[in-house]
């Protein structure tokens, strides 16, 4: 009699384990197909990264909008981390007020192109007053003006195969965002701040603004944008230089 119970318990446990393992396999495949796995998913911390990114991507499938504020809520102090690039190339461009600067857009696009600051300023613009939190803990509110990245992606005829947008600045950093974040209406290529030109310390002549992620994702001093279908072959294969210095690729937190 007790033998029967043991057999039944074992059978049940076996079926449960089989269902659990196949369930995990199916969940993994679905997550991959729907873009719920971050590029830096490896290792122990990768479990947390994947749970956070996957969950937030599902929650934000409603195209949630970052909070916007009124003009009188703009912070008096807008601190920065780090200095503008010291390279001769950047310093020369800065000295001539970026008249010779061009933004190159290439990769999985039908019409690769390069844009001057005036070219970008002629495109439809958007201004938004958003909150930016640094991963260190401080935060401020500022107004950003620029061209929505989605607009630029349309101008160069982005191919349907493009799944990630990679950004290269004039310093040693580089980063990427997924195509959903890139197409979000509040994701800007900003050339203006608080009603004026974008100051050098804040990323002149052009910086990314991703208000649904922490500040470090909004990289500065842009030089080139590349569209790819996979990040595996891009630099370190982890979607950003951030994992090399201990930070996660996804900064929606």
């Amino acid at each position: 009699m007790s033998g029967g119970i043991t057999r039944r318990t074992m059978l049940r446990a076996g079926l449960g384990a089989a269902a659990g393992i196949s369930g995990l396999a199916v969940a993994g495949e679905l997550a991959r197909r729907y873009g719920l796995i971050p590029p830096d998913h490896g290792g122990l911390y990768g479990i947390g990264e994947t749970l956070t990114y996957g969950t937030q991507r599902v929650l934000m499938a409603t195209h949630s909008m970052a909070r916007e504020f009124s003009r009188r809520e703009i912070s008096r102090v807008a601190p920065v981390n780090g200095d503008p690039p010291e390279s001769d190339e950047y310093q020369r461009l800065l000295a001539r007020e970026f008249s010779a600067w061009r933004l190159v857009v290439d990769g999985l696009v039908t019409k690769p192109a390069s844009f001057s600051l005036q070219d970008l300023q002629r495109l439809p613009s958007r201004s938004q007053i958003t909150h930016q939190a640094c991963e260190e803990g401080w935060s401020f509110i500022a107004e950003w003006t620029g061209v929505p990245l989605a607009t630029l992606l349309d101008v160069v005829w982005t191919k349907p195969a493009a799944r990630w947008v990679v950004f290269y600045p004039y310093d040693e950093s580089w980063d990427s965002i997924d195509i959903a974040e890139a197409r979000h209406p509040q994701t800007l290529l900003a050339y203006g701040m608080n009603g004026g030109d974008l100051p050098a310390a804040h990323g002149a002549p052009l910086r990314l603004r991703v208000p649904r992620q922490l500040g470090y994702k909004s990289i500065k001093y842009l030089s080139r944008i590349t569209l790819v279908d996979s990040l595996d072959q891009v630099e370190n294969g982890k979607g950003s230089f951030s994992p090399d210095i201990g930070y996660s690729w996804y900064a929606g937190i």
């Binding site: 122990l44 911390y45 479990i47 947390g48 990264e49 749970l51 956070t52 937030q56 929650l59 934000m60 409603t62 949630s64 909008m65 970052a66 909070r67 504020f69 809520e73 912070s75 008096r76 102090v77 807008a78 601190p79 909150h131 939190a133 640094c134 991963e135 260190e136 803990g137 401080w138 935060s139 401020f140 509110i141 208000p211 649904r212 992620q213 922490l214 951030s242 210095i245 201990g246 930070y247 996660s248 929606g252 937190i253």
Partner: protein
């Protein structure tokens, strides 16, 4: 004659969730401290930066800059662990239809109720409220707390209360008999002296 007889006290699920939660809280406190030390000032409202007035300047050294990377990774891994543990614990308790904590007195029961149903949910809420992604989905969750920096300040206050609870809990266990009660939470059985005829 007096012998020591083991009396069943903690079912396996309670023991597993207890130690998983304990490890998670330890990791959360260590990693939370690493994050805090990058900017040990607290503010009220939406914004706060160095150079603007703060609510509190914590008397902590600003020595751990550059430690927030692993700090955040560990913080979120252990946050996910304690959330999943908490869900298992509460669902199991609801299936039993009770959270009576039968071996404890009124003060202990009240304390455990506050920690499980008030303090830990508040930590999850204020933690999520600091996420710009979550704030875009449920802006209300930030607004009712008074803003992003208010959420951070409440998160710190809640963490401090949690540390006070853990210290008090360990001291009480120590007073009651450290080896005996910690052993009971590991093996499930509390050794009880029994008079045998």
């Amino acid at each position: 004659m007096i012998t020591i007889a083991p009396v069943p006290r903690h079912p396996p699920l309670v023991r597993i969730t207890h130690w998983t939660a304990a490890a998670s809280v330890a990791a959360l406190v260590v990693s939370g401290t690493a994050i805090l030390l990058a900017h040990p000032r607290l503010y009220w409202g939406e914004t706060g930066v160095a150079g603007e007035p703060s609510l509190v300047d914590l008397p902590l050294p600003l020595v751990l800059t550059g430690q927030t990377g692993w700090g955040r990774s560990l913080h979120f891994l252990s946050a996910w662990t304690i959330v999943i543990t908490g869900v298992v614990y509460v669902v199991a308790g609801m299936r039993r239809g009770r959270f009576r904590w039968p071996h404890y007195d009124a003060l202990q029961r009240r304390t455990y109720t506050v920690v499980v149903f008030v303090l830990l949910p508040l930590m999850i809420w204020t933690g999520l409220a600091m996420s710009p992604a979550i704030a875009s989905v449920v802006p209300f969750a930030v607004l009712v707390l008074g803003g992003h920096q208010s959420a951070r300040t409440i998160h710190f206050a809640g963490a401090s209360a949690l540390v006070v609870f853990v210290v008090g809990h360990v001291v009480m266990v120590g007073l009651a008999g450290f080896r005996r009660y910690v052993g009971a939470m590991i093996t499930g059985d509390l050794p009880v002296p029994k008079e045998v005829l």
